[in-house]
């Protein structure tokens, strides 16, 4: 056992607990609903980016079609709730399982593709599903689904008087996503994924079952993203194909990880804390004019970060790593 690695992991776990505790008490002092809204979105996107990072960051299979799983999660929960009265909790579980199964089913053909072929295949598949949902009358087609208010309780996962429950669920989601990543990082899966990312052929020659590794990463990633989609549907109370499956969702899942540090434990959360408030504030103060200034800022940031610091910002917080590099 690598002592330094184990020590770092224990420290990471302690830091995570401290940060979670701090985050848990923040809403008690921050009462502004708008700010609370930003906090919910930040935690949600942090969780989603962490989940995306499992397949695309650790395993190296860059997917720009993860919005499909997000949308499947949202739709599963919304459809079960509105048509069959099934509680959203079961919808979340169902959506997660469906997404994981679909991810593995698609993995069969897709993981034979390499590089750009894989990226474009993920975009195309998500686009097909988006178009199908646009035309699926039973699921509301392009009109979408209005989720009716049927209660104000944790049981029905609807809260009309406060955003705090949504905040705490988003926090729990972010913690779970982080913990899963932390746990997997030191498991057989984690080592296999990093080997596959670095050099699939060498990994195979060393006994790594490359295909199974990718399938596992895809399933875990899709499951967690779908749960995030279920949550989002409940949070905003209305979903349509474009608002939960659009390409911009796939991009927004990837960007926090890219900004913070792709393939790292803390990168997605760090990236989300910077990017989501920036995006929301930019949209509020500049975007309202309809002149697209928020897009300019947003896109410029993406170009700047990906060129100037491809390893992400998380490295700035690792003094020891600098020493190691030196």
């Amino acid at each position: 056992m690598d002592t330094a690695f184990a020590e770092r992991r224990r420290r990471d776990l302690i830091v995570a607990f401290v940060l979670a505790a701090i985050a848990a008490v923040v809403p008690l002092f921050v009462k502004d609903v708008y700010v609370q809204n930003i906090m919910v979105l930040t935690l949600m996107w942090g969780a989603l980016s962490q989940s995306w990072n499992i397949l695309s960051g650790y395993c190296g299979q860059i997917s720009l079609g993860h919005a499909m799983y997000f949308g499947i999660g949202a739709y599963t929960t919304a459809l079960l709730f509105t048509k069959f009265g099934v509680l959203p909790w079961f919808g979340m579980l169902g959506g997660g399982i469906i997404s994981a199964v679909i991810a593995m089913a698609l993995g069969y053909p897709c993981f034979r593709l390499r590089g750009h072929y894989f990226v474009i295949a993920t975009i195309v598949i998500a686009e097909i599903v988006l178009l199908l949902f646009h035309n699926w009358d039973w699921a509301g087609a392009a009109m979408g689904i209005d989720i009716p208010v049927r209660g104000d309780s944790w049981l029905k996962f609807q809260f009309t008087r406060s955003k705090l429950p949504y905040f705490y669920f988003a926090l729990a989601l972010a913690c779970v996503a982080w913990f899963v990543t932390w746990w997997l990082e030191d498991s057989k899966w984690g080592y296999w994924w990093r080997a596959v990312k670095d050099n699939p052929d060498a990994a195979e020659s060393l006994g790594v079952v490359v295909f199974n590794s990718k399938m596992g990463a895809a399933a875990v990633s899709a499951f967690l993203v779908a749960v995030g989609g279920s949550f989002y549907g409940q949070f905003v109370s209305y979903i349509d194909p474009e608002s939960v499956m659009g390409f911009q969702f796939s991009l927004l899942m990837a960007l926090p990880a890219v900004l913070g540090g792709i393939g790292t434990l803390w990168g997605p959360l760090l990236g989300a804390v910077i990017l989501i408030p920036l995006t929301e504030l930019t949209r509020s103060f500049i975007g309202g004019s309809g002149r697209g200034v928020d897009l300019i800022v947003y896109g410029g940031l993406i170009v700047a970060i990906s060129l100037a610091r491809p390893q992400g910002l998380v490295g700035l917080f690792s003094p020891r790593r600098k020493e190691a590099a030196r």
């Binding site: 190296g60 860059i62 720009l64 053909p109 897709c110 034979r112 593709l113 390499r114 590089g115 750009h116 072929y117 990226v119 474009i120 295949a121 975009i123 195309v124 598949i125 686009e127 097909i128 178009l131 199908l132 646009h134 035309n135 390409f247 991009l251 990837a254 960007l255 890219v258 792709i262 393939g263 309809g290 002149r291 697209g292 200034v293 928020d294 897009l295 300019i296 800022v297 947003y298 896109g299 410029g300 940031l301 993406i302 170009v303 700047a304 990906s306 060129l307 491809p310 390893q311």
Partner: protein
């Protein structure tokens, strides 16, 4: 609607014309990938600014799209070369997360371009009205062909022919091929890699500029127009095989014909599904695409 032989032929003819245009839109992408293994995810936005340039030349100076096409192509050539020198050159140097850097630097560029278009031109739809070719139709053996698409198809064929001659018969073309084969070795014989790459990006952008001028004749221009065609361009290139110029040509025709066929069988809003489904089938069976070499 009743599907008759006449309907099928008419549909396939339209699909063929549109397919050649798709091929023209995509060939710049194929060229750039073949040259340096980079996919330009801002490709759709290159098309968008080409269409805007065409529109404004028409609106302010009454220059018909046919006449402004060379001007737009030249402007896009410069733009493409500049994009390489300012952004892509640094992206390909990244040591950490190389694949991610290439994808997101061009994606970021796409978002900036879209934002700038919305800032300066507003989200309103604009169109070129009363151009020389706009709205006209000719009948060939009973098949009606819209003139803008027909001319576009002819331009596409001419462009592919010219590109073929250029790559195979000029020193620059041979330098492109040599740089593609081994970027390290060409430096030893005095070929400036960055210069070749910049010119390659310029050429790729010029080709999409040409298609933008044609498209502006019969398509609305708005900030998101590029995104509509970008995915089809990626599919066309991947279908034909990344790095294959001929593949883009063949891929475009296939995409156009499949789109036309799908339109006969499915609701209009699902016509793209046929394209995507065929693409996935081909690429799953043959991961390199039809004519790809890597």
């Amino acid at each position: 609607m009743p599907v008759t032989a006449e309907t099928i032929i008419q549909s396939l003819a339209s699909g063929l014309l549109m397919g050649l245009l798709y091929g023209l839109i995509a060939v710049g992408l194929a060229l750039i990938f073949g040259l340096m293994d980079v996919v330009n995810f801002a490709h759709g936005e290159f098309l968008m600014i080409a269409m805007y340039a065409t529109f404004f030349l028409f609106a302010f100076f009454a220059i018909d799209p046919l006449l402004s096409a060379p001007l737009v192509a030249a402007a896009l050539f410069v733009f493409g070369a500049v994009v390489y020198l300012l952004i892509v050159r640094f992206a390909v140097r990244a040591k950490a997360n190389a694949g991610m850097v290439q994808i997101f630097s061009t994606f970021g560029l796409a978002i900036v371009m879209r934002g700038l278009a919305q800032y300066f031109f507003t989200p309103d739809y604009r169109s070129v009205t009363h151009s020389w070719l706009g709205g006209k139709t000719v009948s060939v053996a009973g098949i009606f062909l819209p003139v803008p698409q027909l001319v576009g198809a002819l331009v596409a064929i001419a462009a592919f022919g010219g590109l073929y001659l250029f790559i195979n018969r000029t020193d620059f073309g041979r330098a492109l091929e040599a740089t593609r084969e081994d970027a390290g070795a060409v430096a030893l014989v005095g070929i400036d890699k960055n210069k070749v790459f910049a010119l390659g990006w310029g050429l790729g952008a010029a080709l999409v500029g040409l298609s933008g001028a044609i498209m502006a004749i019969f398509f609305y221009v708005y900030p998101d127009v590029g995104a509509s065609f970008a995915l089809i361009a990626y599919v066309t290139v991947a279908l034909g095989g990344f790095g294959s110029v001929f593949g883009a040509f063949a891929g475009g025709i296939i995409v156009g014909l499949v789109e036309a066929t799908t339109a006969l069988l499915l609701p209009p809003s699902l016509k793209a599904v046929g394209i995507y489904a065929v693409y996935l089938l081909v690429v799953f069976v043959r991961p390199r695409g039809l004519f790809g070499s890597m």
